[in-house]
């Protein structure tokens, strides 16, 4: 049997392969509560919450190519909005989550504004500044947020009726499923965004800003909306974190969390779909293992070296590595276009010059004409 196996796209085998994957995921999700003890389940929930934040960051940095060094701030805003609203002011958890996401969206748009005028590296600085700003604000308004002493007692109680969620174990399972649904919803939002019209605009903006603007992509709208959504998703993760761990301190939402999110995204595979989930699990459970492995600050050295090694060894991240591995086994061959489709595409002008704007591009870009139609997806 010659590897890689070729499966024609859209054929029955392809459909069942895809369905199999979906069922596999669903099976895994549903059986986990039965397989692991309660504390491990709440750790898994913690990792899933981290995954939601990384999905948010991936939308901004992976797909849209914008560097954010302050994503912990949005995570923090979500967390503290829920914390303050449910503990200090006794609102419902769901309302606090929605309020947190709305606030993050607004702050994300405001932070995204300079992104219109500044290039990647400056944006990193702007977001770094926001990330450093939040903890000092939390400490200053300590009567509201509990300041350095921390905010305690956030819970998200399971609905009474269902026996499945009764007792301490039940509460953990309830939070687990809430987080699973939240993660799937976030992935869905990012997925629709990325494969839709907005997604194509975002990727063109990333690859060649000048060309995108010339082709009518409203740069301001796309950039700020993407920043807002990315921040809102990170806010959602923050809110869930608050109710899952029940304790919030300014140190939790510091630069170290941003670094963990960044590493999780790149480790998992930035710009890919399942990457963030892989990355989040590894970043959550690595310190748990390394602390058994080595005591003291040496594990910080290992973590840093791991980050550097990853950039060199696995540029595509785990997801990238996995897909290339999978590609060795199974290839989904695109269907040859039926006659009807061919006529439709032939209306394109045959000599599509390589510079849409007619100007001579910088010598650094490749003057030979690029394959005109399809935008390669990373």
């Amino acid at each position: 049997m010659a590897l890689p196996l070729e499966i024609r796209a859209g054929s029955r085998v392809d459909l069942s392969w895809r369905l199999g994957r979906v069922l596999g995921i669903v099976l895994l999700v549903v059986t986990t509560p039965y397989l692991v003890e309660t504390f491990r389940l709440s750790q898994i929930t913690g990792a899933l919450i981290l995954a939601i934040a990384v999905v948010g960051l991936n939308l901004l940095s992976g797909f849209a190519g914008q560097i954010s060094l302050g994503h912990a701030a949005f995570f923090g805003i979500g967390a503290y909005t829920t914390g303050v609203m449910t503990v200090t002011y006794d609102y419902g958890v769901v309302t606090s989550i929605v309020a947190g996401m709305a606030l993050c969206f607004v702050v994300g748009v405001v932070v995204g504004l300079p992104a219109l005028r500044v290039q990647g590296m400056y944006l990193a600085l702007v977001t770094l500044a926001v990330g450093v700003l939040l903890p000092s604000l939390i400490r200053r308004f300590d009567d509201l947020t509990g300041g350095s002493s921390g905010l305690f007692g956030m819970t998200f109680d399971a609905p009474e009726g269902i026996t499945y969620f009764v007792g301490r174990a039940g509460q953990t399972v309830w939070l687990y499923y809430v987080t699973v649904v939240a993660l799937l919803l976030s992935c869905l939002v990012v997925w629709n965004l990325m494969t839709g019209r907005v997604g194509r605009a975002v990727i063109t903006l990333r690859d060649n800003e000048a060309a995108a603007t010339v082709m009518g992509v409203n740069r301001a709208f796309v950039r700020t909306v993407v920043f807002g959504i990315s921040a809102a998703i990170a806010g959602l993760a923050g809110s869930l974190f608050a109710v899952n761990s029940g304790v919030l301190t300014p140190e939790t939402v510091s630069l170290l969390l941003t670094i963990n999110l960044l590493v999780a995204m790149v480790l998992g595979g930035s710009g890919s779909f399942w990457g963030p989930v892989f990355g989040a699990f590894i970043i959550y459970f690595v310190p748990v293992w390394t602390s058994d492995l080595s005591q003291g600050p040496i594990s910080g050295v290992i973590f840093g070296a791991l980050v550097i090694a990853l950039v060199f060894v696995l540029p595509g991240g785990l997801a990238g590595g996995l897909t290339s591995l999978l590609r060795r086994l199974v290839i989904v061959v695109p269907q040859p276009p039926t006659q009807g489709e061919v006529d439709q595409t032939s209306s394109l002008p045959d000599d599509l010059s390589d510079d849409p704007a007619g100007f001579e591009a910088e010598p650094t870009t490749d003057p030979e004409p690029r394959p005109a139609a399809r935008l390669a997806r990373r």
């Binding site: 895809r18 369905l19 994957r21 979906v22 069922l23 995921i25 669903v26 999700v29 549903v30 039965y34 003890e37 309660t38 504390f39 709440s42 750790q43 913690g46 000092s136 400490r139 300590d142 300041g147 350095s148 002493s149 921390g150 305690f152 269902i162 026996t163 499945y164 969620f165 007792g167 301490r168 174990a169 039940g170 399972v173 499923y177 699973v180 649904v181 799937l184 992935c187 869905l188 997925w191 629709n192 494969t195 974190f241 761990s245 029940g246 304790v247 919030l248 301190t249 140190e251 939790t252 779909f273 310190p287 390394t290 602390s291 005591q295 003291g296 600050p297 594990s299 910080g300 973590f303």
Partner: protein
């Protein structure tokens, strides 16, 4: 992957959840009524405000031959360099008890990393309780960490003896299971105010320089509390703060305090800031009567300040191992020998190692007392015994004991010497002993 897969996954998951929701709950049922408790146990628990019915059934069973004890501390990240040495210290105390105390139970210390983040402490303690089935916790570092996990201990009626959180939160009558391990900030504040009242009978102008951290907040509260409760004529004329991450010399804060011409400085920053605030004050020619937090009250810090450290007053309930005064103190020698014997890789020059020893030592004392008590060596026995502890640790200065009494006196260390740093001696000169036994618990 075409459009439909994630949508498919979501729909499938939600239906699956609904289906299983009608099935049996995955986790085993917890709680439930406890077995036939002797009336002595429920009486003892009653006194401490513990409802035995809430506790798991095995709270009064004698401990197995081999029992785990949990310790959470920062093993990775920045704070690890300062606190990781607690582990070997605590290990030594427990191994020593296993060898010499003659108890029926051998204690096995399990360390878990919490990166000094309270949410990680919660995750680590849950793992220790459910997986390692720890019978007691010791050495949980930081008041925020203690506040974060004390409900977990209360729910499973697990003793936390002793937990180094200096804040009032670690000595709270509502949580009898938690016994405070570190020097409380209230003792520092109480002695500082007492000393100022003595030196300045008609009131002094006080400047405070406090870290914007959790311990800093507590210091500020305690200082105000004791100025009020001793209706001192002194008053705070300048309250300056410093951020934990700010490594620059606090020149602007010292300038402000100097300009308020305060006679007294209460300084409670963190880490290297203890050195830089003293050198900065000296460099600006400002020489107030200076009181420095116990966290910085070791010769590694004051030794580094040069002339600026002369005469700085520090509250010291514990012996400073690097001061010449205790060079050949047999109490310190006894603990150093235990460390060398039972925990060979312990850093014998680091004072924090010895603190780790004292935190676990309190647990050993509680276990010993429980074994002799009517309740026997059980979790409840340890909790009850720990609330009546009264012993003198070899690391404590003479005249200072580790004493608690039920819910009235929740603070174990309520006496200390106020020693002054002497540059020529290269150590602390013994000062007056202040004893506020039983007065520091906040009702």
């Amino acid at each position: 992957m075409p459009k439909r897969t994630p949508l498919l996954a979501l729909v499938a998951t939600v239906t699956a959840i609904a289906v299983t929701a009608c099935g049996g709950a995955p986790g085993a049922e917890e709680g439930g009524s406890s077995s036939d408790n002797s009336d002595a146990a429920s009486a003892a628990a009653e006194v401490l405000g513990i409802d035995l019915a809430e506790c798991p059934a095995d709270v009064t069973d004698p401990l197995p031959a081999e029992a785990n004890v949990g310790l959470t501390l920062p093993l990775t990240g920045g704070p690890a360099t300062a606190f990781a040495v607690l582990g070997p210290g605590a290990e030594a105390a427990l191994e020593q008890a296993n060898a010499e105390a003659g108890l029926d139970t051998k204690f096995n210390l399990i360390q878990k990393d919490d990166q000094f983040l309270p949410d990680k402490t919660v995750a680590a303690v849950q793992e220790l309780i459910q997986q390692d089935e720890v019978v007691a916790m010791t050495g949980v570092t930081g008041t925020a960490a203690v506040l974060a996990i004390r409900d977990l201990l209360k729910r499973d009626c697990i003793p936390g003896v002793s937990l180094p959180g200096g804040g009032a939160g670690a000595a709270d009558p509502d949580y009898p299971e938690v016994v405070q391990g570190a020097t409380p900030f209230s003792l520092d504040a109480r002695i500082w105010v007492e000393s100022v009242n003595e030196q300045f009978p008609d009131g002094a102008k006080i400047a405070t320089f406090i870290g914007n951290t959790e311990s800093g907040n507590d210091y500020a509260l305690q200082i105000d509390r004791w100025l009020e409760e001793t209706d001192s004529k002194s008053e705070i004329v300048s309250a300056e703060t410093i951020e934990a991450a700010d490594a620059a010399a606090p020149s602007s804060q010292v300038t402000t305090m100097r300009n308020s011409d305060a006679d007294v400085l209460f300084a409670a920053p963190t880490g290297a800031q203890c050195i830089s605030v003293l050198t900065e004050a000296a460099n600006q020619g400002w020489k107030p009567v200076t009181y420095l937090t116990t966290n910085c009250g070791s010769s590694t810090y004051l030794g580094a300040t040069g002339p600026a450290g002369e005469g700085v007053l520090v509250v010291q309930p514990f012996k400073d191992i690097n001061s010449p005064r205790f060079a050949d103190d047999e109490g310190v020698a006894e603990v150093r020998a235990a460390l060398e014997k039972y925990s060979p890789d312990a850093d014998l020059e680091n004072t924090t190692t010895y603190s780790g020893y004292t935190y676990a030592e309190a647990l050993v004392e509680a276990a010993r007392a429980a074994a002799d008590s009517e309740l026997g060596l059980s979790r409840l026995g340890i909790i009850v015994a720990a609330r009546q502890l009264d012993f003198h640790s070899p690391m404590l200065v003479d005249g200072v004991d580790f004493t608690v009494d039920g819910l009235e006196d929740m603070v174990p260390i309520e006496a200390a010497e106020l020693n002054a740093w002497s540059v020529d001696e290269g150590g602390f000169v013994q000062g007056e002993l202040y004893d506020f036994e039983g007065q520091l618990t906040e009702q």
